[in-house]
């Protein structure tokens, strides 16, 4: 069969990647080639999600928009993953180098794909040297920022999910969170709140709203429903959009405008990049 493709995530080493979807191959910059032209993809998973490695000469390239990856605590649990089949030999060495010139390089792991992140607060470059039978040796790097927080795995559960704002010409409003999973946590809701409990976003009838993530992460897709709250003649508008190859921090909801004046309800599921998870949000619009 000509079109058969094996999804790489089914072949990854049996890594215990916390909450998230399948590895977003291609959603991040390519890994460095090291000494081989065909180096394996290598990704790092931690409180910042799952991110492919960058060239050690430009480690900021691993993160969207070059922002350092937030480890949330000192000594955060990190996992290194590759696209190799489980039977392939893999040898790894991971070093962290502080960028402020004060700390000393820290050996994070020799041979183990599960290890603790840097203890030195501030900006660090994590460099993984990976040697495999089929590919030879290659290097992969990530720029991380280590906050001055205790090295306590329990603190990982205090990572707040990003706020997802809805914007119009008249202002913006944060979405009411529904159920979802984000990095290490999943949340359940009972009922959804009554519409009157939601902050309303004013906008013009026919105006195209936008959505925006506020914490530097990005979305790879969304789907949702826009429906009028009181106008009985207008049917709900169902829509969805994916952009896994080019995650976005903000996007216009073109074609999903409130068509007439009145109150509207927008329910949206946002899927985050870096295998960060997904989340339902609820918004109230007042079109004038």
């Amino acid at each position: 069969m000509s079109s058969v493709r094996i999804i790489l995530s089914s072949l990854v080493l049996s890594l215990a990647v916390p909450f998230g979807g399948t590895a977003a191959m291609g959603a991040e910059p390519s890994a460095s080639s090291g000494t081989e032209a065909t180096a394996p993809h290598v990704w790092l998973n931690g409180p910042f999600g799952t991110v492919l490695g960058a060239d050690p000469a430009a480690p900021a390239g691993a993160a969207p928009a070059g922002a350092p990856l937030d480890t949330w605590i000192r000594g955060a649990p990190l996992l290194l993953g590759t696209e190799l089949a489980s039977g392939d030999a893999l040898d790894v060495s991971v070093v962290s180098t502080p960028l402020d010139g004060h700390g000393r390089p820290e050996q994070l792991s020799v041979g183990d794909t599960e290890f603790s992140g840097p203890d030195t607060t501030g900006l660090n470059v994590i460099t993984a040297t990976v040697r495999t039978d089929p590919y030879g040796t290659s290097e992969h790097a990530w720029l991380v920022v280590v906050p001055d927080r205790e090295s306590d795995p329990g603190l990982l559960f205090d990572i707040p999910g990003p706020r997802v704002r809805l914007l119009s010409d008249a202002g913006s409003v944060d979405g009411e969170q529904g159920h979802g999973c984000y990095v290490y946590m999943c949340r359940e809701v009972g009922y959804r709140p009554p519409e009157t409990a939601l902050d309303a976003l004013p906008m013009g009838a026919g105006e195209t709203p936008s959505i925006e993530i506020d914490d530097g992460s990005a979305m790879v897709g969304w789907k949702g429903t826009l429906e009028p709250l009181h106008d009985t003649l207008i049917e709900p508008i169902l829509a969805e959009e994916t952009f896994a190859d080019a995650p976005r921090v903000t996007t216009k909801l073109t074609g999903r405008e409130p068509t007439v004046a009145g109150e509207w309800l927008l329910e949206r599921l946002v899927e985050y990049d870096r295998d960060g998870g997904w989340q339902w949000f609820l918004y109230r619009l007042i079109a004038e």
């Binding site: 069969m1 000509s2 079109s3 058969v4 094996i6 999804i7 089914s10 049996s14 890594l15 215990a16 990647v17 916390p18 909450f19 998230g20 979807g21 998973n45 649990p77 996992l79 599960e114 795995p153 990982l156 559960f157 205090d158 707040p160 999910g161 009411e176 969170q177 529904g178 159920h179 979802g180 999973c181 984000y182 290490y184 946590m185 999943c186 949340r187 359940e188 809701v189 009972g190 009922y191 959804r192 709140p193 009554p194 409990a197 897709g221 106008d231 009985t232 003649l233 049917e235 169902l238 994916t242 896994a244 074609g255 999903r256 329910e267 599921l269 997904w278 339902w280 949000f281 609820l282």
Partner: protein
């Protein structure tokens, strides 16, 4: 946010009723002409001169009846002052393909009809009918093909991902899997044995990378500062036992232990992500740590007051804490919400729905993992043993081999026939791959050489290694094959062995 369905349905019903009344009163508000996509002219029969400019494709609309129930869908093509409205029944769907194509599908009882419409010329490029239920995938268009997941029409079992050529409608192949036989040409007759189903996108999905080691003991204590009240502890502990009892797999074992590291809290001060409207949360940091938080009875939300059934004095309008706790333990184990992958499952199929049902809604008091939860757990952690039933929410290929102790014997000489039954050794089945299957029913079919008259005997399951035996005393030369019929009680596929011959020497 799919909550408070009742309120929403009533509101929609009121809207629909009012809409119907208004339409009836408006002069000249005659319904627009609507047609099925397949009634469009074939594009080959439409002149290029009929290409319309300024085509607008109105959004795909849901049509509701007066009770607020979906009765169908509409898509309107607006061009040159004329409207062409296409309609489907209530199980329709549409997929936008570039600027001037839209694929319109409709599920029927036993399959799916799909039509590719050229919106600029208002004609159909192709129409095809498939004998499976196919659903658009999230990333729907891929390298000149539409992507669908395919499901058995009767059992709704997930079968794999299908690629349909945008230009011809032919099946180009299957991804996530490996064709055993050629997949092309394949005009929609997808043989169940033709491909290996994917290890991803299960109805109850799992977090990528899996979970804990098999049979891992994951004890928990009450979190300091969040110790549950006396009435709340039994349902929490009972849920831990439910997870153990109903996973049919080697998933983690949850038990209460006062000195455990992992903690369960009953608290009004949960972690940040669990604030706001959440009634419960679960968090895990593999491979070391997990926690669960449940909000207290009486917590006030914008929608009302949280009432746990174990505390509430009435039997309705409350959440079953034992059920909610089982759901959270499902997250710790590695399960996510079915809606993540676009699935809406019956209450009996999963306890992992994102919206917690309130008593007396269906599933609100369910204290067991559903069959689709179990299917995922078995792939993540392996089935409990070789005799444990494979969940009917799965669809697992089997392999059957037949060997004989002697190829030639004297008349009446004993010959031992041994069949070996296993799960196919494919990566997609993860922990189940290659497992021996014990205690199933394996038939031995036999016939005289040159005859088509197969007779049947049953083989005995003897060993945990999935071996089935039968000793015979042949009076003549016979041919034999072993057959494993697909059982209705398990998610296992039919398989048969090759034919072997036992020759009786004269």
């Amino acid at each position: 946010m799919e909550g408070n369905t009742d309120v929403r349905i009533h509101r929609i019903a009121r809207m629909a009723a009012a809409a119907s009344l208004l339409l009836a009163l408006l002069p000249g508000a005659a319904a627009a002409t609507e047609e099925s996509p397949v009634s469009l002219p074939r594009c080959g029969e439409v002149s290029q001169a009929t290409v319309h400019n300024g085509v607008v494709v109105a959004p795909w609309r849901v049509v509701l009846d007066q009770e607020g129930a979906v009765t169908g869908h509409r898509l309107t093509l607006r061009h040159d002052g004329a409207d062409t409205t296409l309609r489907t029944g209530r199980r329709g769907f549409s997929i936008s393909v570039g600027a001037d194509r839209v694929a319109i599908g409709e599920h029927r009882g036993d399959g799916t009809r799909l039509t590719m419409v050229d919106t600029r010329r208002a004609c159909r490029v192709w129409t095809r009918t498939m004998e499976r239920l196919v659903y658009p995938e999230r990333e729907r268009v891929d390298d000149g093909a539409l992507r669908f997941t395919t499901h058995d029409p009767d059992t709704r079992r997930y079968e794999g991902t299908l690629l349909v050529n945008l230009e011809t409608g032919a099946s180009d192949g299957l991804i996530d899997g490996e064709c055993i036989e050629a997949c092309t040409p394949n005009d929609g007759d997808i043989s169940l044995t033709a491909f290996e189903p994917a290890g991803v996108a299960r109805p109850t999905p799992s977090f990528s990378g899996g979970g804990w080691p098999k049979d891992k003991a994951l004890p928990f204590r009450w979190r300091s500062g969040g110790v549950p009240p006396t009435w709340a502890r039994p349902p929490m502990k009972a849920a831990a036992a439910d997870a153990r009892r109903t996973s049919a797999s080697r998933s983690p074992r949850f038990t209460y232990a006062a000195d455990a590291t992992n903690a369960v809290a009953y608290t009004g001060n949960p972690p940040s992500y669990c604030g706001g409207s959440a009634i419960a949360c679960a968090g895990r940091s593999l491979p070391t740590y997990w926690g669960i938080w449940l909000r207290p009875h009486g917590t006030d939300y914008a929608w009302g007051t949280l009432r746990w059934c174990q505390k509430a004095s009435s039997s309705g309008g409350c959440f079953d804490m034992r059920r909610v706790m089982l759901h959270e333990l499902g997250h710790i184990t590695g399960l996510t919400h079915p809606s993540t992958a676009g699935f809406t499952l019956a209450a009996s199929d999963s306890v992992m729905q994102g919206i917690t049902p309130m008593r007396p809604q269906s599933g609100s008091s369910r204290h067991a993992f559903g069959r689709c939860d179990v299917a995922t757990l078995q792939e993540l952690y392996d089935s409990t043993d070789n005799k444990t039933a494979i969940s009917t929410c799965n669809d697992v290929a089997t392999k059957l081999m037949l060997t004989i102790s002697k190829a030639a014997v004297g008349r009446g000489g004993p010959v031992k026939l041994t069949a070996q039954l296993r799960v196919a050794n494919w990566n997609a089945y993860r922990q189940l791959a290659g497992n021996p299957l014990k205690g199933r029913s394996v038939k031995l079919k036999y016939r005289r050489v040159g005859s088509d008259d197969w007779r049947i005997a049953w083989m005995k399951s003897l060993y945990s290694s999935g071996r089935y035996e039968l000793t015979i005393s042949p009076q003549a030369t016979w041919e034999f094959k072993a057959v494993f019929p697909a059982p209705s009680t398990e998610g296992l596929r039919y398989s048969r062995s090759g034919i072997v011959k036992v020759r009786v020497k004269s």
